[in-house]
C-alpha cells in the first residue's frame, strides 16, 4: 500500500471517528488541537484503524499513555527533560520528536499526535 493510499484510509477513519470534514484532515493536523479528539476518541481511532487496515495495534503502541506523568524524571518544571525526549523517541519512533525537542513544554506533547504520525506508524506496521 502506498503512502497516499494509507493517508486516504486514515483520512476516512478520522472523518468517521471524529465527525470532521475530510479537508480538515491534513497531514499536519493535530488530533486534539485541530481535529478536537478527546481521550476516548483515541481508543475509537485504534478500533477503526485495526478494522480498516486488518491489523492489531497493541495498547500504547500508537498512542503511548502516561507520557508526562509518573516520576521517571522525564518532566521538570513543566518541561520535558533530555531523558524524557529520549524516552519519547524510543516510544514514538513514528512521531516528529525532533521538532518537539526545540520547545519541549509538556503541553506541546499533544502536538506530536498528528495525522502524519498515524500514517508513518502504519507505513512501518504494514511494511
Amino acid at each position: 500500500m502506498t503512502r497516499d493510499e494509507i493517508f486516504e484510509k486514515v483520512q476516512q477513519t478520522l472523518v468517521d471517528a471524529l465527525g470532521v470534514d475530510d479537508d480538515e484532515v491534513t497531514p499536519e493536523a493535530t488530533l486534539s488541537g485541530d481535529l478536537g479528539a478527546e481521550s476516548i476518541d483515541y481508543l475509537d481511532i485504534v478500533f477503526r484503524l485495526e478494522k480498516n487496515f486488518g491489523i492489531k495495534i497493541p495498547r500504547g503502541e500508537l498512542f503511548p499513555e502516561n507520557l508526562s506523568t509518573g516520576d521517571g524524571g522525564f518532566v521538570k518544571d513543566g518541561v520535558v527533560t533530555p531523558e524524557g525526549v529520549a524516552e519519547l523517541k524510543k516510544r514514538m519512533p513514528h512521531a516528529d520528536v525532533d521538532s518537539f525537542a526545540a520547545d519541549p513544554k509538556v503541553e506541546n506533547i499533544q502536538e506530536l499526535f498528528t495525522v502524519n504520525m498515524i500514517v508513518k506508524f502504519l507505513e512501518k506496521k504494514l511494511s
Binding site: D16, I40, L43, D44, F47, E50
Partner: protein, 155 residues
C-alpha cells in the same frame, strides 16, 4: 423511577450478541412531556436502552471486573419514532473488545421496522481508578446490578 431502560433479555450469547426488549407504556411520566399531545419515546432514552443492552454484553464478557461506562456514540441514525404500546427490540453485537474498553453495533426495531441503528463505545474504568474508583457503583449503569434484568430473562 429506576434508571433501567430495558425490560428483559430475549437473547444473550456471551461475548457476542444480546437482544433486549423495552415495552413502551403511557405509565412512563416522561412520555407525557415528550411531546405533549403526541407521546413519542425520546431518542436519547432509546440510546440508553441500547447502551444498557450492549454495556451488559461487554461487562458480562469480563465477569463485571471492570466498571463499564458509556463513553461515546460515534454514530446513531433514527429512521422512525416509537409510541406507547410498541415493543422495541434492542440488538447489540460486540464488535471490539480490549482492556481499555469496547464497542457495539446496535439496532432498534419495532416488529419488522428498523427505528434506529448505530454504534456505541464503552470505556473500562478500574475499580481502583483514583478519579472514579470511589464512586458509588449504583450510579453506574452497566454493572452487575443490572443483571437483575438478565435474571428476568432467564426466568
Amino acid at each position: 423511577m429506576r434508571w433501567i431502560w430495558i425490560d428483559r433479555f430475549l437473547e444473550f450469547e456471551s461475548g457476542k450478541r444480546a437482544v433486549a426488549v423495552k415495552n413502551v407504556t403511557l405509565a412512563e411520566e416522561h412520555l407525557h412531556d415528550h411531546i405533549p399531545g403526541f407521546a413519542v419515546m425520546p431518542g436519547s432514552l432509546m440510546i440508553e436502552g441500547m447502551a444498557q443492552t450492549g454495556g451488559i454484553l461487554l461487562g458480562e464478557k469480563n465477569a463485571f471486573r471492570h466498571i463499564v461506562i458509556l463513553a461515546k456514540v460515534p454514530k446513531m441514525t433514527f429512521h422512525g419514532y416509537v409510541v406507547p404500546g410498541d415493543s422495541i427490540h434492542y440488538a447489540a453485537t460486540l464488535t471490539d473488545e480490549r482492556p481499555e474498553g469496547g464497542s457495539v453495533e446496535v439496532r432498534a426495531t419495532v416488529g419488522e421496522t428498523l427505528v434506529a441503528e448505530g454504534e456505541i463505545m464503552f470505556a473500562h474504568i478500574a475499580q481502583n481508578d483514583p478519579q472514579f474508583g470511589n464512586i458509588n457503583q449504583k450510579n453506574f449503569v452497566f454493572n452487575s446490578g443490572l443483571m437483575g434484568v438478565f435474571e428476568v430473562g432467564k426466568a
